[in-house]
């Protein structure tokens, strides 16, 4: 098994090198056959990497503890379902996983490349293959998943207990796919620069891949938050941990990018912005992968003992240097012909959008990097944690949400102040009404008040658009409301998909505001039969039980929850001890409702029959989990291909807009 695995890796290395050389040389020397050959080599790579992954899976399934990676991440007692998690649980396996995913994405990207980017495709292929070459090369030289031990131990170590949670079946693979996926639009951008032909064709492929990768990255982040919330036991979902920041950092320029390419597609401006944003996103993505493998700052997420971070840092530096060199070389090609018409326009709003996302990235990076600066200049290690990010990044995020509400209401090119005021009247009214209502009901703190009002503003704007559009369709076609709405969405998928995603973001902001400012927690020490009260809830300790397992010991407490005096449900918070890892994983008892979560942790079971409980009441958390699938739906709608319609000339559309606008 190990031989098969290593052999396929060597084969992959050869094929990737061949594909890069054939494409590059073929393009340079104008030998079309070589270019085609290079492309076919790219297509074979997912198959080769697939065999590699299959070999590792087979090794796990057959308990081949002669392979160091298998011994380190599984044992005889391993639940077969967990083989999937064990695949990427460690450094070497995750590298193989990333390389496999990337080989698939690269092959699909090259295969499905639209006609407009064909001239630049060989260059793109070179970049894609060089990236793959790096990962396969690192595996073969430093982190071979098929490395064999001198003597096979009788049993493996087992998988890290924190990974046995359902969230771990999805979060790491999705997150890793998202991070490496940024390489695809990046490669297209580099291909476009290398080919040197001015034009905006690469925007089509940039938009499609950008949206797909963005959705995957967002999914990774939300899944990670869900995992942290349900298993880490502190009742929170985001800790501004360096590795979490490493995953957030690429998401920020990526979000700016998918918006900014819309402007390039429509107006042919922001070319430099878009190239710079995708380079930054890729740089951050590689930085994220570096942080996970032995970065200088400790984190709950890192693969721990690996010392190979430096090679990723070098790769990062090489990529950034090459990318910016290309950018500088092709600077003139990227200059925009048509500048802005007015500071009050959608283009300007997108410009502000870009700036805000970059600012958030900057302050996040600053927070991550500052401890190193302090160490270097003061010789003192400091921590830059939640208080910093809450104070500094919070307002920027709020500004972004507000912009998300106002931006889509701005017309392209130029907005008249009067029209804008009229369009904003309803959303502003809703926001003010919400603020007033909340104030009267007892929400006095200014920041949550502002945040909720902004959420109201954005939601009002979106829902009004939907209501208007549906009503207009109905008046024309007489369809029922649901059908009219469905057809409305189908008729303009990018726009309505975008609205759906924005609505999901509002839910996310709503959830974060509620849970950040109004979460309460209290510790109680209870005897069996005793009750504790928090808010309108009471928790009664019913008793504890112990469940021994082959490699673990589970202790659970049964509690009865009362709301307003009436019993409502039971929860079973507890702990699972893993002696082999000397680690305990919390199992919180969680009950979610749209209003709040009741979150109970049983932290200590003492010999005299008492147990210590920490009870959290976390408002609005469920909305965060609802927003995830909704964002996915929105992205799918936005990407759903439309029937080929008559291509209307853009100029005609612009003339019409301008004529209508100038009526005001």
């Amino acid at each position: 098994m190990a031989d098969v695995g290593t052999a396929t890796l060597i084969l992959a290395l050869g094929l990737a090198a061949y594909a890069a050389i054939a494409s590059g040389l073929g393009q340079w020397r104008r030998v079309p056959e070589m270019v085609v050959s290079g492309r076919y080599a790219t297509y074979t790579l997912p198959l080769v990497m697939g065999v590699s992954i299959a070999a590792l899976v087979a090794a796990f399934v057959t308990h081949d503890f002669g392979i160091r990676y298998v011994a380190g991440n599984s044992n005889l007692a391993l639940d077969p379902w967990l083989t999937w998690v064990a695949l990427y649980a460690g450094n070497e396996g995750s590298l193989l996983f990333i390389a496999f995913i990337f080989s698939v994405l690269a092959a699909v990207a090259v295969w499905k490349a639209p006609a407009g980017v064909r001239p630049a495709l060989p260059h793109t292929n070179v970049v894609l293959m060089l990236i793959l070459l790096f990962y396969v090369g690192v595996m073969l030289t430093m982190a071979n998943p098929f490395f064999e031990l001198a003597a096979a131990p009788p049993d493996g170590q087992g998988i890290n207990p924190l990974l046995t949670h359902p969230g771990m079946f999805l979060h790491p693979p999705v997150q890793m796919a998202g991070l490496i996926g940024v390489g695809i639009p990046f490669a297209f951008a580099m291909g476009h620069l290398m080919a040197g032909q001015p034009g905006d064709d690469w925007v089509l492929v940039a938009r499609t891949w950008g949206l797909v990768v963005w959705a995957v990255l967002t999914g990774g982040l939300l899944l990670g938050a869900w995992w942290a919330y349900t298993i880490l036991g502190w009742g929170g979902y985001w800790a501004w941990d360096p590795v979490e920041n490493g995953a957030l950092l690429p998401w920020l320029p990526m979000t700016a990018f998918i918006h900014s390419v819309m402007v390039q597609r429509r107006r042919g401006i922001f070319r430099m912005w878009n190239v710079a944003l995708i380079i930054l996103a890729w740089g951050f993505a590689m930085y994220g992968m570096f942080m996970n493998r032995g970065g200088p700052i400790p984190s709950v997420h890192s693969f721990g003992q690996s010392t190979m971070g430096w090679i990723f840092l070098i790769f990062l530096a090489v990529n950034l240097f090459a990318a910016f060199a290309l950018f500088y070389w092709r600077y003139r090609m990227l200059r925009s012909a048509r500048p802005l018409d007015s500071p009050l326009s959608r283009e300007a709003a997108f410009l502000l959008n870009n700036l805000l996302f970059l600012l958030v990235a900057f302050v996040t990076l600053w927070g991550v990097v500052y401890p190193l600066i302090s160490q270097a200049f003061q010789g003192v290690m400091v921590t830059v944690g939640r208080p910093y990010y809450d104070a500094i990044a919070g307002p920027l995020f709020l500004a972004l949400v507000a912009l998300m509400g106002v931006g889509p209401l701005l017309p392209w090119r130029r907005a008249s102040r009067r029209t804008l005021a009229r369009t904003l009247r309803l959303p502003m009214g809703v926001a003010l009404a919400m603020a007033a209502a909340l104030f009267v009901l007892g929400v006095r703190s200014p920041i949550p008040l502002l945040a909720f009002s902004v959420c109201g503003l954005v939601a009002a704007g979106i829902l009004r658009e939907w209501a208007r559009g549906t009503r207009a369709r109905r008046s024309r076609s007489g369809e029922s409301y649901p059908v009219a709405f469905g057809r409305l969405v189908a008729s303009n998928r990018p726009r309505y998909g975008g609205y759906i995603v924005h609505l999901a973001i509002v839910m996310l902001a709503f959830s974060i505001t509620g849970s950040s400012f109004y979460s309460v927690q209290r510790d109680f020490s209870l005897e069996v039969g005793e009750r504790a009260a928090l808010g309108r809830y009471e928790v009664e300790y019913l008793g504890a039980s112990t469940y021994p397992g082959p490699d673990r010991l589970e202790q659970r407490a049964e509690v009865q929850v009362y709301r307003d005096g009436r019993p409502v449900y039971r929860l079973s918070p507890g702990y699972v001890f893993y002696p082999a890892f000397s680690m305990a994983a919390a199992r919180a008892g969680i009950r979610s409702s749209v209003v709040e979560d009741v979150y109970i942790i049983a932290s200590e079971f003492s010999d005299d029959g008492r147990a210590i409980f920490r009870i959290h009441l976390n408002p609005l958390v469920l909305w965060m989990w609802i927003s995830g699938p909704l964002m996915l739906v929105g992205t799918v709608v936005a990407l759903w291909p439309e029937r080929a319609r008559v291509q209307r000339p853009t100029a005609g559309r612009q003339l019409r807009e301008r004529a209508l606008a100038s009526r005001m």
Binding site: T419, A433, M434, L438, V443, V595, P619, E657, S662
Partner: protein, 190 residues
């Protein structure tokens, strides 16, 4: 008549939404009786202190015994009447500055807090200047070719007619056709 009724329905609809959202937000946020201020201060301190042996977890996040002990010490000291500053200093003395979740706003560490707002202001200023330069450049380009409003409505109607014919606008089924009332920008692609 229809228009008035529509407006009224719309207003009622939005009002209902406002009330619903506000109730949801309020019911989740105001449902808990205020805790003792001592406990609240203790929890704030828990969030502001980092467990020394855990990788970057604050006291309220960490599950290890040391963190629980430290939480106990915090509560004891608060009950004794110590201030937040004194308690923080106590831990800094023992574990170093890294035990604070964020650096104090003094001395060298002031730059952590100052650089982001300064950067933000700088960025916004640059953006404003760039936008202004772009717009001025645009105005310079225009010269004779003024794209602004044609004089009469009749002229405009004829103009629109030509545009409609050329662009096959009869096939236009997308976006809010309400666009005649507002300059909403293009119907497709947001």
């Amino acid at each position: 008549m229809n228009l008035v009724r529509n407006v009224a329905t719309r207003r009622r609809g939005s009002l209902a939404l406002v009330v619903l959202a506000a109730l949801l937000a309020w019911s989740s946020c105001a449902s808990v009786a205020p805790q003792s201020s001592l406990e609240r201060r203790a929890q704030a301190l828990d969030r502001g202190l980092i467990c020394p042996i855990c990788p970057g977890e604050s006291l309220d996040q960490s599950q290890v015994a040391l963190a629980k002990q430290m939480q106990g010490v915090v509560r004891e000291m608060l009950a004794d009447g110590r201030t937040e500053m004194e308690i923080e200093d106590f831990f800094v003395e023992r574990y170093g500055q890294a035990v604070l979740a964020a650096p104090r706003k003094e001395g060298f560490n002031l730059i952590v807090w100052v650089v982001p707002p300064v950067g933000a202001l700088g960025g916004l200023t640059v953006l404003l200047l760039v936008v202004r330069a772009m717009v001025r450049g645009r105005r310079g380009q225009e010269g004779i070719m003024s794209p602004d409003a044609p004089e009469s409505d009749a002229g405009l109607a004829r103009y629109l007619e030509i545009v409609d014919r050329e662009t096959g606008a009869a096939a236009d089924v997308g976006g809010p056709p309400d666009g005649s009332g507002e300059a909403r920008g293009g119907s497709a692609n947001g």
